[in-house]
Symmetry: C2
Protein backbone atom coordinates (compact mmCIF):
# COMPACT_ATOMS: atom_id res chain seq x y z
CA UNK A 1 0.00 0.00 0.00
CA UNK A 2 1.22 3.45 -0.81
CA UNK A 3 2.31 5.59 2.14
CA UNK A 4 -0.36 8.05 1.19
CA UNK A 5 -3.09 5.49 1.71
CA UNK A 6 -1.58 4.27 4.95
CA UNK A 7 -1.83 7.80 6.23
CA UNK A 8 -5.41 8.06 5.10
CA UNK A 9 -6.35 4.86 6.85
CA UNK A 10 -4.62 5.97 10.02
CA UNK A 11 -6.47 9.25 9.87
CA UNK A 12 -9.78 7.47 9.63
CA UNK A 13 -8.81 5.12 12.44
CA UNK A 14 -8.03 8.09 14.59
CA UNK A 15 -11.10 9.99 13.61
CA UNK A 16 -13.45 7.19 14.52
CA UNK A 17 -11.46 6.38 17.65
CA UNK A 18 -11.17 2.81 16.48
CA UNK A 19 -9.82 0.38 19.06
CA UNK A 20 -8.72 -3.07 18.11
CA UNK A 21 -10.84 -5.71 19.77
CA UNK A 22 -8.42 -7.45 22.08
CA UNK A 23 -10.53 -10.57 22.29
CA UNK A 24 -10.85 -11.08 18.55
CA UNK A 25 -7.27 -10.11 17.96
CA UNK A 26 -5.78 -12.54 20.39
CA UNK A 27 -8.20 -15.28 19.51
CA UNK A 28 -7.20 -15.09 15.88
CA UNK A 29 -3.54 -14.55 16.69
CA UNK A 30 -3.78 -17.73 18.70
CA UNK A 31 -0.33 -17.40 20.16
CA UNK A 32 1.16 -18.36 23.45
CA UNK A 33 3.55 -15.90 25.00
CA UNK A 34 6.39 -17.59 26.77
CA UNK A 35 8.45 -15.54 29.21
CA UNK A 36 11.69 -16.58 30.88
CA UNK A 37 12.02 -15.90 34.59
CA UNK A 38 15.75 -15.65 35.22
CA UNK A 39 16.37 -15.10 38.94
CA UNK A 40 18.21 -16.48 41.96
CA UNK A 41 16.75 -19.60 43.55
CA UNK A 42 14.06 -18.48 45.91
CA UNK A 43 13.99 -21.40 48.25
CA UNK A 44 17.16 -20.17 49.89
CA UNK A 45 16.54 -16.45 49.79
CA UNK A 46 13.35 -15.19 51.31
CA UNK A 47 13.47 -11.91 49.43
CA UNK A 48 13.33 -13.74 46.12
CA UNK A 49 10.59 -15.98 47.33
CA UNK A 50 8.45 -12.88 47.72
CA UNK A 51 9.33 -11.73 44.21
CA UNK A 52 8.38 -15.12 42.85
CA UNK A 53 5.10 -15.05 44.75
CA UNK A 54 4.21 -11.90 42.87
CA UNK A 55 5.33 -13.51 39.65
CA UNK A 56 3.17 -16.53 40.30
CA UNK A 57 0.18 -14.35 41.01
CA UNK A 58 0.69 -12.67 37.66
CA UNK A 59 1.18 -16.06 36.03
CA UNK A 60 -2.21 -17.13 37.28
CA UNK A 61 -3.88 -13.88 36.31
CA UNK A 62 -2.51 -13.94 32.79
CA UNK A 63 -2.57 -17.66 32.09
CA UNK A 64 -5.95 -17.39 30.46
CA UNK A 65 -4.50 -14.76 28.20
CA UNK A 66 -1.88 -17.05 26.77
CA UNK A 67 1.00 -16.21 29.08
CA UNK A 68 3.33 -19.04 30.04
CA UNK A 69 6.37 -18.73 32.29
CA UNK A 70 9.52 -20.81 32.30
CA UNK A 71 11.76 -20.54 35.32
CA UNK A 72 15.54 -20.52 35.18
CA UNK A 73 16.76 -20.16 38.72
CA UNK A 74 20.41 -20.13 39.67
CA UNK A 75 22.38 -20.63 42.85
CA UNK A 76 23.81 -17.43 44.22
CA UNK A 77 27.16 -17.70 42.43
CA UNK A 78 28.38 -16.48 39.09
CA UNK A 79 29.07 -19.92 37.68
CA UNK A 80 25.50 -21.04 38.17
CA UNK A 81 24.37 -17.66 36.84
CA UNK A 82 26.33 -18.10 33.62
CA UNK A 83 25.04 -21.61 33.17
CA UNK A 84 21.44 -20.55 33.44
CA UNK A 85 22.08 -17.51 31.25
CA UNK A 86 23.19 -19.87 28.52
CA UNK A 87 20.01 -21.89 28.98
CA UNK A 88 17.85 -18.80 28.67
CA UNK A 89 19.62 -17.66 25.54
CA UNK A 90 19.37 -21.07 23.93
CA UNK A 91 15.57 -21.07 24.03
CA UNK A 92 13.38 -18.62 22.22
CA UNK A 93 11.37 -16.41 24.52
CA UNK A 94 8.90 -13.65 23.94
CA UNK A 95 10.12 -11.77 26.97
CA UNK A 96 12.65 -12.02 29.75
CA UNK A 97 12.40 -11.12 33.43
CA UNK A 98 15.78 -10.75 35.01
CA UNK A 99 17.84 -9.19 37.80
CA UNK A 100 21.50 -8.24 37.42
CA UNK A 101 22.93 -10.18 40.34
CA UNK A 102 26.45 -10.25 38.93
CA UNK A 103 27.50 -7.13 37.17
CA UNK A 104 29.92 -8.22 34.48
CA UNK A 105 27.97 -11.36 33.66
CA UNK A 106 24.76 -9.38 33.46
CA UNK A 107 26.19 -6.91 30.98
CA UNK A 108 27.27 -9.84 28.90
CA UNK A 109 23.83 -11.42 29.12
CA UNK A 110 22.06 -8.21 28.17
CA UNK A 111 24.22 -7.72 25.11
CA UNK A 112 23.38 -11.19 23.90
CA UNK A 113 19.69 -10.58 24.53
CA UNK A 114 19.81 -7.45 22.47
CA UNK A 115 20.82 -9.45 19.42
CA UNK A 116 17.70 -11.57 19.84
CA UNK A 117 15.57 -8.47 20.17
CA UNK A 118 13.56 -9.74 23.13
CA UNK A 119 11.86 -7.31 25.53
CA UNK A 120 13.62 -7.34 28.89
CA UNK A 121 12.28 -6.38 32.28
CA UNK A 122 14.83 -5.87 35.02
CA UNK A 123 13.79 -6.02 38.66
CA UNK A 124 15.30 -5.18 42.03
CA UNK A 125 18.36 -3.28 40.89
CA UNK A 126 19.19 -1.43 37.75
CA UNK A 127 22.34 -1.42 35.70
CA UNK A 128 23.89 1.10 33.39
CA UNK A 129 23.66 -0.17 29.86
CA UNK A 130 22.61 0.94 26.43
CA UNK A 131 20.52 -2.16 26.03
CA UNK A 132 16.86 -1.17 25.97
CA UNK A 133 14.98 -2.46 28.96
CA UNK A 134 12.29 -1.75 31.52
CA UNK A 135 13.32 -1.30 35.15
CA UNK A 136 11.08 -2.06 38.07
CA UNK A 137 12.50 -1.58 41.52
CA UNK A 138 13.55 0.80 44.19
CA UNK A 139 15.44 4.04 44.19
CA UNK A 140 18.19 2.86 46.53
CA UNK A 141 19.69 6.28 47.25
CA UNK A 142 16.34 7.75 48.14
CA UNK A 143 15.57 4.86 50.42
CA UNK A 144 18.77 5.67 52.28
CA UNK A 145 17.70 9.28 52.63
CA UNK A 146 14.42 8.07 54.07
CA UNK A 147 16.24 5.88 56.56
CA UNK A 148 18.16 8.95 57.67
CA UNK A 149 14.95 10.85 58.19
CA UNK A 150 13.42 8.08 60.25
CA UNK A 151 16.47 7.88 62.48
CA UNK A 152 16.38 11.63 62.92
CA UNK A 153 12.80 11.44 64.12
CA UNK A 154 13.49 9.30 67.15
CA UNK A 155 16.44 11.35 68.30
CA UNK A 156 17.68 12.32 71.72
CA UNK A 157 20.24 15.06 72.15
CA UNK A 158 23.63 13.47 71.64
CA UNK A 159 23.11 10.66 69.24
CA UNK A 160 25.41 8.10 67.73
CA UNK A 161 24.32 5.88 64.87
CA UNK A 162 25.99 2.61 64.04
CA UNK A 163 25.86 1.51 60.43
CA UNK A 164 26.19 -2.25 60.26
CA UNK A 165 27.16 -3.66 56.91
CA UNK A 166 26.57 -7.38 56.83
CA UNK A 167 27.17 -8.69 53.37
CA UNK A 168 28.58 -11.45 51.26
CA UNK A 169 28.70 -9.59 48.00
CA UNK A 170 31.63 -7.33 47.32
CA UNK A 171 30.19 -5.65 44.24
CA UNK A 172 30.97 -1.96 44.26
CA UNK A 173 27.65 -1.18 42.62
CA UNK A 174 25.68 -2.90 45.33
CA UNK A 175 22.41 -1.46 46.40
CA UNK A 176 23.44 -1.17 50.05
CA UNK A 177 26.22 1.25 49.20
CA UNK A 178 23.76 3.54 47.47
CA UNK A 179 21.56 3.33 50.52
CA UNK A 180 24.42 4.35 52.80
CA UNK A 181 25.27 7.23 50.49
CA UNK A 182 21.67 8.39 50.66
CA UNK A 183 21.67 8.01 54.43
CA UNK A 184 24.67 10.28 54.91
CA UNK A 185 23.35 12.76 52.41
CA UNK A 186 20.25 13.26 54.53
CA UNK A 187 22.34 14.48 57.45
CA UNK A 188 24.56 16.57 55.21
CA UNK A 189 21.55 18.37 53.81
CA UNK A 190 20.03 19.04 57.22
CA UNK A 191 22.82 20.65 59.12
CA UNK A 192 20.67 21.43 62.09
CA UNK A 193 21.20 17.74 62.74
CA UNK A 194 24.86 18.05 63.63
CA UNK A 195 24.40 16.31 66.94
CA UNK A 196 24.53 13.02 65.05
CA UNK A 197 27.72 10.98 65.00
CA UNK A 198 28.27 7.90 62.89
CA UNK A 199 30.25 4.73 63.21
CA UNK A 200 30.53 1.92 60.70
CA UNK A 201 31.28 -1.76 61.07
CA UNK A 202 31.54 -4.30 58.29
CA UNK A 203 30.83 -7.96 58.81
CA UNK A 204 31.35 -10.55 56.14
CA UNK A 205 29.17 -13.52 55.45
CA UNK A 206 26.21 -12.89 57.70
CA UNK A 207 28.28 -13.89 60.73
CA UNK A 208 26.34 -12.73 63.69
CA UNK A 209 29.08 -14.04 65.96
CA UNK A 210 31.27 -11.21 64.71
CA UNK A 211 29.11 -8.65 66.47
CA UNK A 212 30.48 -7.53 69.85
CA UNK A 213 28.96 -5.74 72.79
CA UNK A 214 31.62 -3.06 72.52
CA UNK A 215 30.32 -2.01 69.16
CA UNK A 216 27.08 -0.85 70.75
CA UNK A 217 28.58 0.85 73.79
CA UNK A 218 27.80 4.44 72.88
CA UNK A 219 25.12 3.77 70.32
CA UNK A 220 21.50 4.96 70.33
CA UNK A 221 20.45 3.62 66.95
CA UNK A 222 21.51 1.20 64.26
CA UNK A 223 21.11 1.40 60.51
CA UNK A 224 21.34 -1.88 58.64
CA UNK A 225 21.34 -1.07 54.93
CA UNK A 226 20.13 -4.46 53.79
CA UNK A 227 17.75 -7.16 54.93
CA UNK A 228 19.95 -8.42 57.81
CA UNK A 229 18.51 -6.21 60.56
CA UNK A 230 17.25 -9.32 62.35
CA UNK A 231 20.83 -10.37 63.04
CA UNK A 232 21.48 -7.19 64.99
CA UNK A 233 18.13 -7.45 66.74
CA UNK A 234 18.87 -11.00 67.70
CA UNK A 235 22.28 -10.07 69.06
CA UNK A 236 20.92 -7.21 71.13
CA UNK A 237 18.13 -9.39 72.45
CA UNK A 238 20.46 -12.18 73.48
CA UNK A 239 22.74 -9.74 75.23
CA UNK A 240 19.91 -7.91 76.85
CA UNK A 241 20.86 -4.57 75.38
CA UNK A 242 17.80 -2.37 75.28
CA UNK A 243 16.90 1.11 74.12
CA UNK A 244 18.64 0.94 70.75
CA UNK A 245 16.44 1.69 67.76
CA UNK A 246 17.08 -0.42 64.68
CA UNK A 247 16.12 0.51 61.17
CA UNK A 248 16.44 -1.96 58.35
CA UNK A 249 15.02 -3.21 55.09
CA UNK A 250 12.63 -5.83 53.80
CA UNK A 251 9.82 -7.76 55.41
CA UNK A 252 11.57 -11.06 55.97
CA UNK A 253 9.85 -13.28 58.49
CA UNK A 254 12.62 -12.76 61.04
CA UNK A 255 12.57 -9.01 60.55
CA UNK A 256 8.82 -8.98 60.98
CA UNK A 257 9.14 -10.95 64.18
CA UNK A 258 11.53 -8.44 65.70
CA UNK A 259 9.36 -5.61 64.47
CA UNK A 260 6.41 -7.11 66.31
CA UNK A 261 8.52 -7.54 69.44
CA UNK A 262 9.54 -3.91 69.23
CA UNK A 263 13.22 -4.77 68.78
CA UNK A 264 13.21 -3.28 65.29
CA UNK A 265 11.63 0.14 64.98
CA UNK A 266 11.36 0.64 61.22
CA UNK A 267 11.57 -1.48 58.14
CA UNK A 268 11.65 0.00 54.68
CA UNK A 269 9.82 -2.28 52.32
CA UNK A 270 10.62 -2.41 48.65
CA UNK A 271 7.58 -4.53 47.86
CA UNK A 272 9.16 -7.51 46.19
CA UNK A 273 5.83 -9.20 45.42
CA UNK A 274 4.62 -6.09 43.65
CA UNK A 275 7.88 -5.88 41.76
CA UNK A 276 7.51 -9.44 40.53
CA UNK A 277 3.89 -8.97 39.61
CA UNK A 278 4.51 -5.67 37.87
CA UNK A 279 7.36 -7.15 35.89
CA UNK A 280 5.20 -9.87 34.37
CA UNK A 281 2.36 -7.42 33.90
CA UNK A 282 4.73 -5.16 32.04
CA UNK A 283 5.74 -7.92 29.63
CA UNK A 284 2.10 -8.86 29.20
CA UNK A 285 1.16 -5.30 28.37
CA UNK A 286 3.99 -4.88 25.92
CA UNK A 287 3.41 -8.13 24.09
CA UNK A 288 -0.17 -9.25 24.48
CA UNK A 289 -1.86 -5.89 24.57
CA UNK A 290 0.83 -4.15 22.54
CA UNK A 291 0.66 -1.21 24.86
CA UNK A 292 3.33 1.30 25.64
CA UNK A 293 4.95 0.80 29.04
CA UNK A 294 7.09 3.06 31.18
CA UNK A 295 10.83 2.47 31.05
CA UNK A 296 11.35 2.93 34.77
CA UNK A 297 8.89 2.21 37.53
CA UNK A 298 10.17 3.00 40.98
CA UNK A 299 8.47 1.23 43.80
CA UNK A 300 7.14 3.58 46.47
CA UNK A 301 9.25 3.54 49.63
CA UNK A 302 7.05 1.97 52.23
CA UNK A 303 7.65 2.67 55.90
CA UNK A 304 6.64 -0.25 58.07
CA UNK A 305 6.27 -0.09 61.82
CA UNK A 306 4.64 -2.61 64.10
CA UNK A 307 1.27 -0.93 63.70
CA UNK A 308 0.92 -1.07 59.93
CA UNK A 309 2.50 -4.44 59.34
CA UNK A 310 0.18 -6.62 57.31
CA UNK A 311 -0.03 -10.20 58.45
Amino acid sequence: MAQENIDKVNAIIKEHDYKRNVFASNLAFNKRFVFAVFLPKYDTIEYWRAQVQGIEKAEEEYRNFGVILEYHLYDFDSISFKEKAKEVLKSTYDGILFTPTFHKESIDFLNKCELKNVPIVMVDSNIETKVQHTYIGQDAFKSGVLAGKLISLVVKEEHQVLIVKITREIEATSVYLQRIAGFYSFFENNNNLNHFKFKEVTIKDSGEELLTIDMFATIQSVFVPNSRAYLVANFLEKNNIIGIRIIGYDLLDLNKEYLKKGMIEFLINQKPEIQGFTAIASLYKQLVLQEFVLETQYMPLEIIVKENLQM
Copy 2:
Protein backbone atom coordinates in the same frame (compact mmCIF):
# COMPACT_ATOMS: atom_id res chain seq x y z
CA MET B 1 -29.10 -32.54 31.41
CA ALA B 2 -29.28 -34.89 34.33
CA GLN B 3 -27.35 -33.91 37.43
CA GLU B 4 -25.36 -37.09 36.99
CA ASN B 5 -24.10 -35.98 33.62
CA ILE B 6 -23.33 -32.47 34.86
CA ASP B 7 -21.11 -34.04 37.48
CA LYS B 8 -19.40 -36.18 34.88
CA VAL B 9 -18.68 -33.21 32.68
CA ASN B 10 -17.34 -31.24 35.62
CA ALA B 11 -15.11 -34.13 36.54
CA ILE B 12 -13.66 -34.26 33.05
CA ILE B 13 -13.21 -30.49 33.02
CA LYS B 14 -11.31 -30.73 36.24
CA GLU B 15 -9.29 -33.72 35.17
CA HIS B 16 -8.04 -32.05 32.03
CA ASP B 17 -7.54 -28.75 33.82
CA TYR B 18 -9.69 -27.12 31.20
CA LYS B 19 -9.69 -23.34 31.25
CA ARG B 20 -12.21 -21.36 29.31
CA ASN B 21 -10.56 -19.26 26.63
CA VAL B 22 -11.30 -15.74 27.79
CA PHE B 23 -10.78 -14.29 24.34
CA ALA B 24 -13.16 -16.62 22.57
CA SER B 25 -15.66 -16.46 25.36
CA ASN B 26 -15.91 -12.72 25.45
CA LEU B 27 -15.77 -12.38 21.72
CA ALA B 28 -18.75 -14.65 21.36
CA PHE B 29 -20.53 -13.20 24.33
CA ASN B 30 -20.11 -9.87 22.62
CA LYS B 31 -21.41 -7.93 25.55
CA ARG B 32 -20.61 -4.54 26.94
CA PHE B 33 -20.43 -4.26 30.67
CA VAL B 34 -21.78 -1.00 31.92
CA PHE B 35 -20.92 0.05 35.46
CA ALA B 36 -22.41 2.95 37.38
CA VAL B 37 -20.00 5.18 39.28
CA PHE B 38 -22.06 6.70 42.06
CA LEU B 39 -19.88 9.10 44.05
CA PRO B 40 -19.64 12.70 45.30
CA LYS B 41 -18.67 15.31 42.72
CA TYR B 42 -14.93 15.30 42.52
CA ASP B 43 -14.35 18.77 41.21
CA THR B 44 -15.04 20.18 44.66
CA ILE B 45 -13.42 17.49 46.79
CA GLU B 46 -9.84 16.64 46.08
CA TYR B 47 -10.04 13.29 47.80
CA TRP B 48 -12.70 12.15 45.38
CA ARG B 49 -10.80 13.50 42.45
CA ALA B 50 -8.04 11.04 43.32
CA GLN B 51 -10.52 8.20 43.53
CA VAL B 52 -11.90 9.12 40.14
CA GLN B 53 -8.41 9.28 38.69
CA GLY B 54 -7.94 5.66 39.67
CA ILE B 55 -11.35 4.86 38.24
CA GLU B 56 -10.47 6.52 34.97
CA LYS B 57 -7.24 4.62 34.78
CA ALA B 58 -9.17 1.39 35.16
CA GLU B 59 -11.71 2.61 32.62
CA GLU B 60 -8.95 3.03 30.10
CA GLU B 61 -7.34 -0.28 30.93
CA TYR B 62 -10.56 -2.21 30.62
CA ARG B 63 -12.24 -0.30 27.82
CA ASN B 64 -10.91 -2.75 25.27
CA PHE B 65 -12.46 -5.50 27.28
CA GLY B 66 -15.95 -4.13 26.93
CA VAL B 67 -16.14 -2.12 30.13
CA ILE B 68 -18.07 1.14 30.01
CA LEU B 69 -18.58 3.52 32.90
CA GLU B 70 -21.40 5.93 33.53
CA TYR B 71 -20.92 8.59 36.16
CA HIS B 72 -23.59 9.73 38.56
CA LEU B 73 -21.99 12.36 40.77
CA TYR B 74 -23.86 14.21 43.45
CA ASP B 75 -23.29 17.38 45.42
CA PHE B 76 -22.33 16.76 49.00
CA ASP B 77 -25.85 16.82 50.38
CA SER B 78 -28.45 14.15 50.92
CA ILE B 79 -30.99 15.63 48.54
CA SER B 80 -28.59 15.48 45.63
CA PHE B 81 -27.58 12.01 46.79
CA LYS B 82 -31.14 10.75 46.70
CA GLU B 83 -31.72 12.26 43.31
CA LYS B 84 -28.73 10.55 41.79
CA ALA B 85 -29.57 7.31 43.58
CA LYS B 86 -32.90 7.32 41.78
CA GLU B 87 -31.08 7.86 38.49
CA VAL B 88 -28.79 4.93 39.11
CA LEU B 89 -31.66 2.65 40.01
CA LYS B 90 -33.66 3.65 36.96
CA SER B 91 -31.00 2.46 34.54
CA THR B 92 -29.85 -1.11 34.23
CA TYR B 93 -26.25 -1.64 35.20
CA ASP B 94 -24.02 -4.66 35.32
CA GLY B 95 -22.26 -3.35 38.39
CA ILE B 96 -22.27 -0.43 40.77
CA LEU B 97 -19.42 1.44 42.43
CA PHE B 98 -20.58 3.42 45.40
CA THR B 99 -19.66 5.03 48.70
CA PRO B 100 -22.08 5.38 51.61
CA THR B 101 -21.81 9.11 52.17
CA PHE B 102 -25.16 9.38 53.92
CA HIS B 103 -25.98 6.51 56.17
CA LYS B 104 -29.74 6.21 56.09
CA GLU B 105 -29.98 7.00 52.41
CA SER B 106 -27.25 4.50 51.64
CA ILE B 107 -29.02 1.68 53.44
CA ASP B 108 -32.09 2.50 51.44
CA PHE B 109 -30.12 2.51 48.20
CA LEU B 110 -28.45 -0.80 48.96
CA ASN B 111 -31.75 -2.49 49.69
CA LYS B 112 -33.12 -1.39 46.36
CA CYS B 113 -29.98 -2.57 44.60
CA GLU B 114 -30.35 -5.97 46.15
CA LEU B 115 -33.68 -6.42 44.43
CA LYS B 116 -32.01 -5.83 41.09
CA ASN B 117 -29.30 -8.30 41.97
CA VAL B 118 -26.43 -6.15 40.77
CA PRO B 119 -22.90 -6.63 42.13
CA ILE B 120 -21.93 -3.71 44.34
CA VAL B 121 -18.49 -2.45 45.24
CA MET B 122 -18.28 -0.03 48.14
CA VAL B 123 -15.26 2.21 48.55
CA ASP B 124 -13.80 4.50 51.21
CA SER B 125 -16.00 3.52 54.12
CA ASN B 126 -18.00 0.47 54.91
CA ILE B 127 -21.47 0.10 56.28
CA GLU B 128 -23.20 -2.58 58.26
CA THR B 129 -25.75 -4.25 56.09
CA LYS B 130 -26.88 -7.68 55.05
CA VAL B 131 -26.75 -6.66 51.43
CA GLN B 132 -23.97 -8.59 49.72
CA HIS B 133 -21.17 -6.33 48.61
CA THR B 134 -17.44 -5.93 48.20
CA TYR B 135 -15.63 -3.39 50.36
CA ILE B 136 -12.45 -1.65 49.33
CA GLY B 137 -11.02 0.91 51.70
CA GLN B 138 -9.20 1.55 54.89
CA ASP B 139 -9.38 0.10 58.36
CA ALA B 140 -10.14 3.40 60.08
CA PHE B 141 -9.55 2.20 63.64
CA LYS B 142 -6.17 0.74 62.78
CA SER B 143 -5.15 3.90 61.04
CA GLY B 144 -5.86 5.74 64.26
CA VAL B 145 -3.69 3.30 66.18
CA LEU B 146 -0.92 3.97 63.70
CA ALA B 147 -1.29 7.69 64.17
CA GLY B 148 -0.84 7.16 67.88
CA LYS B 149 2.33 5.21 67.29
CA LEU B 150 3.77 7.88 65.05
CA ILE B 151 3.07 10.59 67.61
CA SER B 152 4.68 8.46 70.29
CA LEU B 153 7.84 8.21 68.22
CA VAL B 154 8.58 11.89 68.16
CA VAL B 155 8.01 12.38 71.86
CA LYS B 156 9.71 14.51 74.46
CA GLU B 157 9.14 13.93 78.15
CA GLU B 158 5.95 15.76 79.06
CA HIS B 159 3.82 15.73 76.01
CA GLN B 160 0.42 17.11 75.23
CA VAL B 161 -1.44 16.17 72.08
CA LEU B 162 -4.22 18.27 70.62
CA ILE B 163 -6.82 16.44 68.61
CA VAL B 164 -8.43 18.83 66.18
CA LYS B 165 -11.75 17.75 64.74
CA ILE B 166 -12.64 19.87 61.77
CA THR B 167 -15.73 18.52 60.12
CA ARG B 168 -18.99 19.30 58.47
CA GLU B 169 -20.57 15.89 58.80
CA ILE B 170 -22.25 14.97 62.02
CA GLU B 171 -22.69 11.30 61.23
CA ALA B 172 -21.97 9.19 64.27
CA THR B 173 -20.47 6.47 62.12
CA SER B 174 -17.97 8.78 60.55
CA VAL B 175 -14.56 7.50 59.79
CA TYR B 176 -12.81 10.16 61.84
CA LEU B 177 -14.45 8.96 65.03
CA GLN B 178 -13.11 5.47 64.46
CA ARG B 179 -9.69 6.98 63.89
CA ILE B 180 -9.81 8.85 67.19
CA ALA B 181 -10.94 5.71 68.97
CA GLY B 182 -7.97 3.87 67.50
CA PHE B 183 -5.67 6.70 68.45
CA TYR B 184 -6.64 6.60 72.11
CA SER B 185 -6.52 2.84 72.17
CA PHE B 186 -2.86 2.93 71.20
CA PHE B 187 -1.99 4.88 74.32
CA GLU B 188 -4.24 2.76 76.49
CA ASN B 189 -2.49 -0.38 75.34
CA ASN B 190 0.97 1.03 75.93
CA ASN B 191 0.85 2.23 79.46
CA ASN B 192 4.51 3.09 79.57
CA LEU B 193 3.31 6.07 77.56
CA ASN B 194 1.49 7.72 80.43
CA HIS B 195 3.35 10.98 80.02
CA PHE B 196 0.93 11.81 77.21
CA LYS B 197 -1.95 14.17 77.82
CA PHE B 198 -4.73 14.86 75.37
CA LYS B 199 -6.95 17.77 74.56
CA GLU B 200 -9.71 17.94 71.99
CA VAL B 201 -11.23 20.79 70.06
CA THR B 202 -14.06 20.58 67.59
CA ILE B 203 -14.48 23.03 64.76
CA LYS B 204 -17.42 23.02 62.44
CA ASP B 205 -17.38 23.75 58.77
CA SER B 206 -13.70 23.83 57.95
CA GLY B 207 -13.48 27.22 59.61
CA GLU B 208 -9.84 27.94 60.08
CA GLU B 209 -10.70 31.26 61.67
CA LEU B 210 -12.04 29.35 64.65
CA LEU B 211 -8.58 28.22 65.65
CA THR B 212 -6.97 30.28 68.40
CA ILE B 213 -3.41 30.67 69.61
CA ASP B 214 -4.50 29.66 73.09
CA MET B 215 -5.41 26.22 71.89
CA PHE B 216 -1.79 25.48 71.12
CA ALA B 217 -0.28 27.02 74.24
CA THR B 218 0.89 23.81 75.92
CA ILE B 219 0.82 21.56 72.90
CA GLN B 220 3.69 19.58 71.38
CA SER B 221 1.80 17.76 68.68
CA VAL B 222 -1.50 17.81 66.82
CA PHE B 223 -3.57 14.95 65.50
CA VAL B 224 -6.04 15.83 62.77
CA PRO B 225 -8.17 12.75 62.14
CA ASN B 226 -9.23 13.73 58.66
CA SER B 227 -7.78 15.46 55.63
CA ARG B 228 -7.84 18.99 57.11
CA ALA B 229 -4.32 18.99 58.58
CA TYR B 230 -3.37 21.78 56.21
CA LEU B 231 -5.73 24.14 58.02
CA VAL B 232 -3.83 23.68 61.25
CA ALA B 233 -0.48 23.92 59.49
CA ASN B 234 -1.57 27.10 57.83
CA PHE B 235 -2.71 28.59 61.11
CA LEU B 236 0.53 27.74 62.87
CA GLU B 237 2.56 29.11 59.98
CA LYS B 238 0.67 32.37 59.88
CA ASN B 239 1.08 32.82 63.63
CA ASN B 240 4.68 31.80 63.59
CA ILE B 241 4.21 28.97 66.03
CA ILE B 242 6.99 26.45 65.55
CA GLY B 243 8.00 23.13 67.00
CA ILE B 244 4.59 21.49 66.89
CA ARG B 245 4.41 18.20 65.03
CA ILE B 246 1.27 17.63 62.99
CA ILE B 247 -0.04 14.30 61.87
CA GLY B 248 -2.91 14.03 59.45
CA TYR B 249 -4.48 12.11 56.63
CA ASP B 250 -4.57 12.11 52.86
CA LEU B 251 -2.25 13.50 50.24
CA LEU B 252 -4.19 16.59 49.28
CA ASP B 253 -2.15 19.18 47.44
CA LEU B 254 -2.20 21.52 50.42
CA ASN B 255 -1.22 18.77 52.81
CA LYS B 256 1.63 17.80 50.55
CA GLU B 257 2.82 21.36 50.43
CA TYR B 258 3.02 21.60 54.21
CA LEU B 259 4.66 18.21 54.35
CA LYS B 260 7.36 19.45 52.00
CA LYS B 261 7.80 22.58 54.08
CA GLY B 262 8.20 20.47 57.20
CA MET B 263 5.09 21.95 58.83
CA ILE B 264 3.35 18.59 58.72
CA GLU B 265 5.37 15.64 59.95
CA PHE B 266 3.30 12.63 58.90
CA LEU B 267 0.43 11.94 56.58
CA ILE B 268 -1.35 8.64 56.53
CA ASN B 269 -2.41 7.85 53.02
CA GLN B 270 -5.39 5.68 52.24
CA LYS B 271 -4.54 5.48 48.55
CA PRO B 272 -7.71 6.78 46.99
CA GLU B 273 -6.50 6.21 43.42
CA ILE B 274 -5.77 2.60 44.19
CA GLN B 275 -9.16 2.26 45.84
CA GLY B 276 -10.89 3.56 42.74
CA PHE B 277 -8.86 1.42 40.42
CA THR B 278 -9.31 -1.68 42.53
CA ALA B 279 -13.03 -1.14 42.72
CA ILE B 280 -13.46 -1.16 38.95
CA ALA B 281 -10.99 -4.01 38.64
CA SER B 282 -13.06 -5.94 41.12
CA LEU B 283 -16.24 -5.49 39.10
CA TYR B 284 -14.34 -6.40 35.95
CA LYS B 285 -13.06 -9.58 37.51
CA GLN B 286 -16.45 -10.58 38.84
CA LEU B 287 -18.32 -9.95 35.64
CA VAL B 288 -16.00 -10.17 32.67
CA LEU B 289 -13.65 -12.84 33.94
CA GLN B 290 -16.23 -14.42 36.20
CA GLU B 291 -13.61 -14.80 38.86
CA PHE B 292 -14.07 -14.97 42.57
CA VAL B 293 -13.15 -11.75 44.38
CA LEU B 294 -12.48 -11.02 48.03
CA GLU B 295 -15.31 -9.47 50.01
CA THR B 296 -13.10 -7.03 51.86
CA GLN B 297 -9.88 -5.50 50.69
CA TYR B 298 -8.23 -3.21 53.18
CA MET B 299 -5.82 -0.70 51.77
CA PRO B 300 -2.39 -0.82 53.41
CA LEU B 301 -1.79 2.08 55.79
CA GLU B 302 0.86 4.13 54.11
CA ILE B 303 3.06 6.42 56.18
CA ILE B 304 4.17 9.44 54.22
CA VAL B 305 6.92 11.81 55.31
CA LYS B 306 8.66 14.44 53.25
CA GLU B 307 11.27 11.95 52.09
CA ASN B 308 9.02 9.33 50.56
CA LEU B 309 6.43 11.61 49.08
CA GLN B 310 5.94 10.84 45.42
CA MET B 311 5.60 13.88 43.20
